[in-house]
């Protein structure tokens, strides 16, 4: 009897945790998204799907913008993270863990603080642009902050380790003898990389994409700190609807729309990549 029940006992803590802190809030939020009212007189469940229509109508620009920023940032992340991970995995030698530690070092400072310090550096008359403007290399109204470039750069900066680590793990697992075998069979280094190393690293890239694209697309800090009113991302809209305008139904509806769009995006990506079992790959 005990043997039969043991697995259930094992999932009990995690299961209860999920039920309490995932399922309950999700149902509450879903209900909220179909309610009508205002914060003073209260919200009542009316099954008002129109909120979804209005929310998408009013904020589709920000939704599309977030997905575009997310996609660009993820692509840049792959391009930047791959060589770093490759170098640490194959040339890191004894100091591998030191390099990984250095990579994670910025994470010992709060995410928000790091972003704010970028604001200090990049500000219009700050330490970077100020001197350049003084010698008239740049026009006086030139600015980096408030542009999509600043926001995407911030996103890339903040999420870099989330791409490097999974790619590194995948590369680290590659048996060097496989590469040697490729070379023995007259593959030049480029071909060996293209036909052997890169395909073997793909699961890592996939996991990296999953760990970056989703949070990057729904991020609200980078755009709030480094952006302007023309770089508003959907996360900011949701945050403001909850914490500024107290418009809970719109905020909940937008959250669900964002979640649906991201889920569809991730599964479509998995399909395109030919990976059948998304979650299994992600867990590797």
């Amino acid at each position: 009897m005990r043997r039969v029940l043991a697995p259930y006992f094992l999932i009990l803590p995690g299961g209860l945790w999920l039920l309490l802190f995932f399922a309950v809030p999700m149902i509450t939020m879903f209900s909220l998204s179909l309610q009508q009212g205002d914060v003073v007189s209260g919200f009542v469940f009316t099954g008002h799907w129109q909120t979804y229509v209005d929310a998408i109508g009013n904020y589709r620009t920000q939704l599309i913008r977030s997905l575009i920023y997310g996609a660009i940032a993820t692509l840049v992340l792959i391009v930047m993270a791959f060589p770093v991970a490759y170098w640490i995995a194959f040339y890191g030698g004894k100091r591998k863990s030191t390099y990984l530690f250095l990579l994670l070092l910025p994470f010992f400072v709060s995410f928000v603080l790091r972003t704010i310090s970028w604001r200090q550096i990049l500000t219009d008359d700050g330490m970077l642009l100020g001197p350049l403007k003084e010698i008239h290399l740049l026009p006086a109204n030139f600015h980096i902050l408030g542009t999509p470039f600043a926001v995407i750069s911030g996103l890339v900066y903040n999420f870099l380790p989330f791409m490097v680590l999974p790619v590194y793990v995948a590369l680290e697992r590659i048996d060097p003898r496989v590469v040697e075998a490729a070379r023995d069979l007259y593959a030049n280094p480029a071909t060996a990389f293209r036909k052997v190393v890169f395909p073997l690293a793909l699961p890592g890239v996939f996991a990296g994409v999953l760990m970056t694209f989703v949070p990057v697309s729904s991020d609200y800090v980078n755009s709030a700190v480094l952006g302007s009113s023309s770089t508003t991302m959907i996360g900011q809209v949701i945050q403001a609807q909850y914490l500024v305008n107290s418009d809970y139904p719109t905020a909940s509806a937008l959250s669900f729309v964002l979640m649906a769009v991201l889920l569809i995006g991730v599964f479509a990506y998995a399909r395109a990549l030919g990976t059948e079992d998304v979650m299994k790959v992600a867990a590797r």
Partner: protein, 415 residues
Amino acid sequence: MQPNNVDPALIRGMTQRRLGRRDALRLGGASAFAMALAACGVKGTGTPAASVAPDAVAKFWAGKTSTKHVDFANWPLYMDPKHPELKKFTAETGISVNYQEVIQEMAPWFAKVQPQLKAGQSIGYDLMVITNGIQFGQFKDSGFLAPLDHSKMPNYAANAAASYKSEAFDPGNVYSVPWTSGITGIAYDPAKVSRPITKLADLFDPAFKGKVGMFSDTQELGNFGMLVLGIDPAKSTEDDWKKAAEKLKEQKTSGVLRNYYDQSYVDALGKGEVWITQAWSGDIFQKNVSDGSNFKFVIPEEGGSIWTDNFAIPVTAKSPVDALALIDFFYQVDIAASLAEYINYVCPVPAAQAQIKADAAKLSGDDKKAMEAIADSPLVFPVAADYANLHYYRQFATVAEQQTYQKVFEPIVLG
């Protein structure tokens, strides 16, 4: 036996899919889910425009005693950082004050504290300063504000200006008395902007592309959108709001606008992110005094807007008695004068003007001139002619009207 004699009920029963136990469970689950969804309704915080019960004051204050400590939530740039007035208060009464500059904008402040207030919990503050906008109404209608015991406020009764005793947003000052009033106008950096700024149209001038700041508060933003079109916000209609919204959208899409700001606009101006921005009157004066910057504040030709920030005690305050004592303390003439001398906002105590002049007489040279300028400043003691060019906030008759207004302007700010 003829086949057509078969009981139709039997055929129905044999051909139709029967509801199995699983289906029953599934259906039951679905309806339980629907019920659960409906049960998730969020209870309201109060009833709009609830009238004040005659015994509300007595009821609230019964049994409340002093704890000799006040937690005070205010906006930045609203007091000398050395807090001389609070030190004096503590010295005189033995009540300590924890002063925190935690309010940057009204809507987020309301959104932040309302869950606690709704649950009847303390928000950590016994006293807060809130503006007479939409959220003031929300605080009041939700029953979040303690009715003030005017019998304990002799200084207020004696020294407050008559106009501050009959405010439309809180008739009879049941829940609030003014901390100070202020004017929304334009601030600019003369080092970056070569011509003098005089009118609202300057905020929409492509010459300042990417260097213009506006407020993210929907009322402040909407007011300027209307004023630039020659519409008086206080008498505006839904059509006017939409016209103003169009004008503001154009300012954004054309790239003239840099961003929408809360209190952080002062920082953006200081860093050179914006050269010209919507601004609150006293902030710029204090910024210039505190770090030697040289920004200018103007009330545009088309007019600025005037608002009042008010003392209010949340109903869940742990120490309302001490908070009330502190409120009344700020209505002493010398304290009101000392505050106005530093913050340069509209002073609700008219007698403070003579006090500031008396203080000036004790000084000499530039200090004397600066102090006299404060006593004569239209930003601190405006006269009737100054008020003629100032516009009041739109008061919303119904919640629906206010929501319509919000729906017009919120998407612009979030855009």
